[in-house]
Symmetry: C2
Subunit: 296 residues, 2 copies
């Protein structure tokens, strides 16, 4: 029973063994799976600027999984819940042929107009991202053996194992008047494209300005691709991409410079034109990512 006021938003995120992870292999430790399932659902709330409230967890447990592993999974989720002020308030446990974790997360705001959607970007806005990009794609390349598991790639692996939903940043950005926001679950190129389509605008992104996570340059070198391909094409970084009026620039930078905050990098601008994204290289030439995402 939850005392309600204002507005609530709800996000649902399901992870299935074999589709989203392999149990016991890279990033497939139970605690990591629990963390990532909750992080994915909370990240959607962060992108609206909502306060995290309750989470409800469905566990589908395969025959033979140990109680210890199931509890480890819930401990991974519980640690993130506790740290973000989220209450795991219920759920369901069922028998299933593979491990399944589905999280419903509920967020709250005092008024509907305090929440940010994907559809408010306007020509002239600046495009920003929180934190750094590419860790998840770099980690995937290492885990799949396409890049060596060198010491340099350790930061990317650690980051990918425990992505941080940007809840405080999302609320700060909403409070400072950003026009539109989305979380990067499918990758910058894809998600910025969603935002552009919802807003009916064009997002021009400067690839050399993308903030790279530790280890991304080294892994990209080993793969023989430009680092921005990992940063723009890889999913599950769970940073926020947002469009802010240029007069908010200073406020946004100050707000995201606070202790423990992810920081902000300005990576582009909103233009009129065919809705979608345009990616520019260092010389200002258009670059196409299409078809590259799966070729790192």
């Amino acid at each position: 029973m939850v005392r309600a006021s204002g507005v609530c938003v709800t996000s649902v995120d399901a992870m299935v063994e074999g589709t989203h992870f392999r149990l016991g292999e890279g990033l497939g430790e139970p605690a990591e799976i629990g963390h990532r399932a909750l992080a994915g659902a909370l990240s959607d709330l962060a992108a609206m600027g909502a306060r995290p409230g309750e989470a409800y967890v469905v566990l589908g447990l395969p025959h033979g999984i140990s109680e210890h592993r199931a509890l480890e999974l819930m401990r991974g989720a519980a640690a993130l819940a506790s740290r973000t002020g989220t209450r795991i308030a219920g759920g369901d446990v069922v028998a299933a042929p593979v491990l399944i974790v589905s999280v419903t997360a509920v967020g709250w705001a005092d008024e509907a107009d305090r929440l940010v959607t994907r559809s408010g970007a306007r020509p002239g806005d600046l495009v920003g991202v929180t934190g750094t990009l590419g860790a998840a794609a770099a980690a995937l390349a290492v885990m799949e053996g396409r890049a060596p598991a060198a010491p340099a790639s350790t930061p990317a692996l650690e980051r990918a194992a425990a992505p941080e939903p940007r809840l405080r940043e999302g609320q700060a950005l909403a409070a400072h008047g950003v026009h539109a926001m989305i979380d990067l679950s499918d990758g910058l190129a894809t998600d910025a494209g969603h935002l552009a389509a919802c807003s009916g605008v064009q997002l021009e992104l400067r690839l050399p300005d993308l903030p790279l996570a530790g280890g991304v340059v080294e892994v990209a070198d080993a793969l023989g691709v430009e680092p921005w391909r990992l940063a723009a094409g890889g999913g599950e970084d769970y940073e926020l991409c947002f469009c802010a009026p240029s007069e908010c620039r200073g406020d946004v930078e100050r707000a995201l410079r606070a202790d423990g905050s992810a920081g902000v990098t300005w990576i582009g601008a909103v233009r009129e034109g065919e809705p979608g994204i345009v990616m520019l290289d260092a010389s200002g030439r258009r670059v196409e990512l299409e078809g590259y995402e799966h070729r790192w």
Copy 2:
């Protein structure tokens, strides 16, 4: 984005192919699965006397399932949603090795004290149930070939294919001051036991008074068991079992006699004593169900 006020309650119910149904076999038509998944989640809201609000649906789709079947499943859920005033407001679709449907349903009430829990039953209360019992157990016996698929069992099969969450009845019972309530998802004996344990009381149930669904007597005859074994031991009837102060008896009967309402049958009384249930036969002798549930 949902405008909120008062209190909300949330119920999560997951159904997995192979655990809860067999796709395409008895009660395994996609539309039936969609209906039953939503009905299970809404039934928990009914048992609290909450107004249905939103539902969020996770679909795990196996390789090769047709779009037609997936849509049929959602149509089954959507028809029940529409009829009960529930809004399917979001969800997630993922690839999975078997068909999975997980529903998160949210219900609302103006004040916390308008909602009914499992823990308020008091000695002297009457025990009532809505509707009729045993249809799901009878249908299961027919589908598994333990009883013949005779015309007499048709009502039970139809009822089991589309159980009705007792939302209006639950709200009416809450408004008329029932002390405790639970929905019958695991069977009367089990669920009344939960209610008794939560309330710290003993529920004395008169087995000959259990209201039997159409076809239950015939199926029980074919199985060679007393009909009350199906009515008290079988799960998924989704009726409500509640404890009401005796002075509310007339109000409750009138409220549940309304057009289209499930009606009420009084089946026992709340006593002081060791928390749990006591089941009495026509001679007032104690009967044990233990171990019989799976022997119909």
